[in-house]
């Protein structure tokens, strides 16, 4: 994975709110149990260079990554404290030579395993070995429905053809498949064809995930921001397909929150039902949390247990519940519905993670940001800044001109 897809699973709405279902308590806001699912970012290395990558702009180097034994210990501990699902992600998780080993270990300790991959490094033998090791589900990212746009967005030649090939192997091995399509101004016109591609690939699920704008995507906002007209058309296409493909293909849809009136319930609420583990072992409320300066995140390499860090660490408690909220959140009737939106977005756009997410119409900055987005979406700047360890490389050639 190199996309902003980690948001999608926690922003699709109430039916997926596992906490509400499994641990019904009086106030949603003050509740936090043990997460049902954890995202393990095994590495930040990735052969793709997508300009909207959800990894932080400051990527973790290979030399700092947790070892095989460290990850196994983490997986065992997660299962012991009640985590049910593990998403192996990245960067590109298949860049780890020990992935089969880790999937087997996760299965052995009883975790439901999901692989979130760009697919381009997989061979049929390796995929087969992953299936034998107990892999439950494969999610493959797509950048378009044909190679010209898809390979350009990925910044890697021949990547689209390879993804199609691996998707077919996935179904041949009888593994369930989710197609993750990250959408933005430069590929939204392909959406109908992408939906058909998912049907043709015999996928079980399709995530239509509009880019979320922080980290790399924020740097590329002018080249990615869709127009309001595009979004309106997109919503229509998705709703039509959802009705038409009921029982054939499940479609989850994530709207870009710049064009919403209400902010997204980011991560289901900070520190409420989700955490992820970075390549170097930091336990984070979301994959972008390290972009917020001034917060100290604890590591699995410390002498504290994962449960202790989740329950007690200052970074998790800082924005938990509703007690931290300023106005207009504090007196808002929706404060336990969206928990004030996204802390990382509030930090990136206002400089203070404790502010109301500007995606909310009640934020004093909402109007200015919406206008800015509208302006950028109508602009001519289509040139990408590709994601890499060097801080990004500007696209050259005709496409970006």
């Amino acid at each position: 994975m190199t996309e902003a897809l980690t948001d999608t699973k926690t922003t699709t709405g109430a039916p997926d709110d596992g906490l509400a279902v499994l641990e019904a308590r009086k106030s949603a806001a003050e509740t936090f149990g043990i997460p049902l699912a954890v995202l393990a970012e095994l590495t930040h290395r990735c052969p793709l260079q997508c300009p909207y990558c959800s990894n932080p702009v400051e990527l973790d180097r290979a030399s700092g990554e947790l070892t095989t034994e460290e990850w196994k210990k983490v997986l065992t501990e997660l299962a012991e404290i009640g985590v049910l699902q593990i998403h192996f992600s990245g960067g590109e998780p298949t860049a780890r030579k020990d992935l089969v080993d880790l999937v087997r270990h996760a299965s052995d300790v009883g975790l439901y395993t999901n692989l979130i991959t760009s697919a381009v490094l997989l061979t049929k033998d390796r995929l087969s070995a992953l299936a034998d090791a107990g892999l439950c589900h494969v999610q493959i990212s797509f950048q378009g429905n044909e190679p010209v746009i898809a390979d350009r967005v990925a910044g890697l030649k021949d990547s689209h053809r390879k993804k199609i090939e691996v998707a077919k192997w996935t179904r041949e091995l009888d593994l369930p498949l989710t197609v993750n399509a990250v959408m933005h101004r430069q590929n939204l016109h392909q959406l109908s064809d992408i939906i058909q591609m998912a049907v043709d690939l015999d996928a079980d699920r399709l995530e239509v995930a509009n880019v979320q704008y922080y980290g790399w995507a924020l740097k590329n906002r002018a080249a990615l921001m869709p127009t309001l007209a595009q979004i309106e058309e997109t919503t229509g296409i998705v709703e039509d397909a959802q009705a038409r493909l009921k029982g054939v293909l499940t479609i989850d849809y994530v709207v870009p929150d710049y064009y919403a009136l209400r902010p997204k319930k980011c991560m289901g609420g900070w520190g409420r039902q989700f955490f992820n583990i970075s390549p170097t072992g930091k336990i984070l409320p979301c994959h972008a949390a390290e972009s917020i300066t001034g917060l100290e995140f604890e590591s699995v390499r410390s002498n504290r247990s994962i449960a202790w860090i989740w329950q007690n660490s200052e970074a998790f408690n800082r924005y938990r519940g509703t007690g931290w909220m300023p106005e207009p959140c504090r007196s808002c009737e929706f404060k336990e519905v969206d928990f004030g939106g996204c802390r990382c977005q509030a930090f990136a756009l206002t400089g203070d993670a404790g502010n109301t997410d500007p995606a909310c119409a009640l934020s004093p900055m909402h109007e200015a940001i919406f206008k800015q987005a509208e302006l950028e979406s109508a602009g001519e700047n289509n040139r990408f800044l590709y994601r890499n360890f060097a801080g990004g490389t500007l696209e050259t050639g005709d496409d970006g001109a």
Binding site: K9, L36, G82, L84, C136
Partner: protein, 103 residues
């Protein structure tokens, strides 16, 4: 290859959970759950009892027989409830039918 995407549940069906849906007892929370991609479902007691019997060999009719005997309840009412519950799961993609081995 993949089985049929959309199944219609009847007493003749021999349903089974697909590979991506796992029925499991969650020791931490002391509840049964169905684990699926990006979702965790919490089936009720009766659903759990039915799903434990769904092995791709036993038919829905046989399951209904068992439940009717166990609870000394009218067979017809149980059949209606079980078929409806399984159809709902099938519509959501969490139930499939056993396939014939082709080789």
């Amino acid at each position: 290859m993949a089985g049929p995407r959309h199944i219609s549940v009847s007493e003749e069906s021999r349903p089974v959970l697909p590979r991506h849906a796992k029925l499991k007892f969650d020791e931490t929370r002391q509840v049964w759950v169905i684990l699926a991609p990006e979702r965790v479902l919490a089936p009720d007691e009766i659903a759990v009892e039915v799903l434990k019997l769904c092995d791709g060999v036993v038919s829905v009719g046989q399951i209904v027989d068992q439940l009717a005997a166990k609870y000394a309840a009218p067979r017809e009412a149980i059949s209606t409830d079980v078929v409806a519950m399984l159809q709902d799961l099938a519509d959501k993609g969490f139930l499939t039918e056993a396939r014939e081995k082709t080789s």
